[in-house]
């Protein structure tokens, strides 16, 4: 049952920052990240904007080449594959983007959008039209939409089309990069429910990226919290929400406004002091990246040495000197 589908090991992605003539530094967008996603589960990735969530997702799919590290998909390292193997990987691992307005080619009809990957991968279909209609119906659209262009659809509908395109390939693994953050809450609920249903039906494995903790909690079985290119806490979603270990996770949780006035009043009193903003990933702080904002930072330790990611309780990892021995 708990069979890993994807294992990311020490993944790094540095983007060079170009000066006038030469590279003057690196944006360490993803800096030594390791985690595992089991088959059929949803792994949530949260963090504030710019912390490297999207880059992690894109690097795993090799839409950008990793600087170093291993991506083991189905027991095979995919960082070096090419040709036919790559093509097969592309079919099995897919991505859905945040912005529904630019993720569909404005010059392709829905039919073309969905059939293109199918044809490219040589997936046999008897009646293409029938095939596409079936897919559209499975995402809540219908025959009427077959030969329309993207601009004729709303944001929510476009995300459905994007989803139908993924389904056509019958992938195993899908990176969902904030698939609902451009949508309104009522539409968001529709899409989230549909993603859950599809997962149940087809056994998809998701990497669910979001900055919205409520959404991540709703979707994920396990999750990771990212800060400045690093994973600071990994574990089952339930556990992280019940018992957040890393001070950054605690800060994030206490910063979310809860849609319940009683609870809000109650929490107001015992809220953790939320301070500062994430610094630039070009020159991240020494030691633990979070120490300048951390109320528990120990001088001489947290600002010098990077904490390792250690298992504190079963399957619950945290990178913080509060829990590790130096």
């Amino acid at each position: 049952m708990m069979e890993p589908l994807l294992k990311v090991e020490n993944l790094k992605k540095y983007f060079p920052v170009r000066g006038l003539l030469r590279t003057i530094g690196y944006v360490k967008a993803v800096d030594d990240v390791s985690f595992t996603i089991n088959r059929g589960e949803t792994f949530g990735l949260v963090g504030e904007s710019g912390c490297g969530k999207t880059t992690t997702g894109r690097t795993i799919l090799r839409l950008v080449e990793p600087t170093s590290g291993k991506i083991i998909f189905n027991g095979k390292d995919v960082t070096k594959i090419r040709g036919e193997e790559m093509k097969e990987f592309r079919r099995r691992a897919q991505i859905m983007f945040q912005d529904p307005y630019s993720s569909l080619n404005p010059r392709q009809t829905v039919f073309e959008v969905i059939m293109e990957p199918v044809r490219f991968h040589g997936i046999p279909v008897d009646d293409p039209e029938e095939f596409v209609i079936k897919l559209l119906e499975s995402v809540g659209l219908n025959e009427m939409h077959l030969y329309r262009y993207p601009h004729e659809f709303s944001g929510g509908q476009r995300q459905r089309i994007a989803l139908a395109r993924l389904l056509a390939l019958k992938p195993e693994f899908i990176v969902l990069d904030e698939p609902t953050s451009a949508l309104d809450v009522s539409v968001q609920a529709n899409i989230l429910n549909m993603l859950k249903d599809l997962q149940k039906k087809y056994g998809f494995t998701y990497l669910f990226i979001s900055h919205d903790l409520g959404v991540v909690k709703y979707m994920s079985h396990r999750m990771g919290v990212m800060y400045l290119g690093k994973l600071v806490e990994v574990g089952p979603a339930e556990k992280i929400f019940e018992n957040p270990l890393h001070p950054y996770t605690q800060m994030l949780l206490s910063a979310i406004p809860v849609p319940d006035p009683d609870l809000a009043r109650e929490l107001k009193a015992k809220r953790m002091n939320v301070e500062g903003e994430p610094p630039s990933p070009i020159n991240p702080p020494q030691g633990c990246h979070f120490h300048p904002r951390c109320p528990f930072a120990k001088a001489g330790l947290c600002d010098k040495k990077e904490p390792p990611l250690i298992e504190v309780e079963k399957d619950h990892y945290v990178a913080c000197w509060l829990y590790a021995k130096s």
Partner: protein, 326 residues
């Protein structure tokens, strides 16, 4: 008994576009009480911004305020209709007595001037200060009030030298520089990360307490509403659906739309098995549905809902709803 500071009556704004007349808001009526935080919530495009901008005639062509009154209770107890004022008179009110803070801090600040200059300018325009020199001196005070560290030096910074959260603090500073009696914050934290959002919300609460300002908070985030608001108006497709205190709205939502909206938000602190999504999408405002504008998506819609526009009725003290169910 709380006394009103703003009475909005039958406010109607139309946009005359090539596609047709966009009935952005129709017959919007509500009171805002002195010293309270009044939240205007609803999904994108429901008319929150248009409503708040109409207060001080900030509607640009092709929009026009078709009818309505916005009665403003002045400090001395007299009342005026803000919509009857001419451009010159309304400019004296706008920015001085009624100030705005907009969503995007990057767009609200002029990149060519220092933040000190921009805050000082707001005061110079309204003659709150004698001259520019005093303006700059006061600007330092204001930066201190919005909790910007090292205000003496920050005042000389250009917007691009500040982080997103700092910029929004400056924008708030500009807004409060003339000690306005009403502060209208239009999605002030939508562009910000949660930890920064928490800080900005706290800052607004602090300022409101200190200066007894009336805060009109516009947002689509139910969490922010629960944390901040005293009273809430829920808008749907250009009309008010429901008005009440926070507790009334969250604990006893009457309008099916409010109920749906609350159920669609994934609350990070609650265990949710399945979100209840509202079917359908927001209607087109050029030809909105007849009768109740929510009826095509409403689970309780009856014949009456299709035919008649529901009026706002008081169901319990201070709790109004526009729905044929009551």
């Amino acid at each position: 008994m709380s006394e009103p500071i703003l009475e909005v009556r039958d406010l109607t704004v139309h946009f005359y576009t090539y596609a047709g007349i966009v009935k952005a808001i129709e017959d919007v009526s509500f009171d805002v009480y002195k010293g309270e935080t009044f939240a205007l919530v609803g999904e994108t495009g429901c008319g929150k911004s248009v409503t708040s901008r109409a207060f001080t005639q900030l509607i640009e062509s092709p929009g026009r305020i078709v009818k309505g009154k916005v009665i403003y209770h002045k400090e001395d107890g007299s009342t005026i209709d803000l919509l009857k004022l001419d451009e010159e008179e309304v400019r004296k009110i706008r920015g001085k007595e009624v100030a705005y803070i907009f969503q995007d801090p990057h767009a609200s600040l002029d990149p060519l001037y220092t933040v000190g200059h921009q805050i000082a300018e707001a005061m110079v325009v309204h003659n709150t200060v004698k001259d520019w020199k005093e303006g700059f001196r006061k600007a330092v005070d204001i930066l201190r009030r919005v909790l910007i560290p090292d205000p003496e030096n920050r005042v000389k910074n250009y917007p691009h030298e500040l982080s997103g959260g700092m910029k929004q603090r400056v924008v708030i500073g500009t807004g409060i520089s003339n000690n306005p009696r009403i502060l209208i914050a239009d999605e002030p934290t939508t562009a910000l990360d949660v930890t920064v959002q928490a800080q900005i919300l706290e800052l607004m609460n602090k300022l409101k307490r200190e200066y007894n300002t009336t805060l009109i908070l516009i947002t689509h985030n139910m969490g922010v509403v629960a944390e901040m608001a005293d009273r809430v108006a829920v808008m749907y497709a250009g009309k008010i659906a429901e008005i009440g205190s926070v507790d009334q709205i969250f604990k006893n939502p009457l309008h099916p739309y409010t109920q749906g909206l609350l159920r669609a938000v994934p609350n990070p602190l609650a265990k949710i098995e399945r979100l209840d999504a509202i079917p359908g999408t927001v209607p087109n405002l050029i030809k909105p549905p007849k009768g109740c504008r929510f009826h095509p998506r409403c689970p309780h819609a009856t014949e009456a809902c299709r035919k008649e526009v529901p009026k706002l009725k008081e169901i319990e003290p201070g709790h109004f709803v526009a729905c044929h169910l009551y």
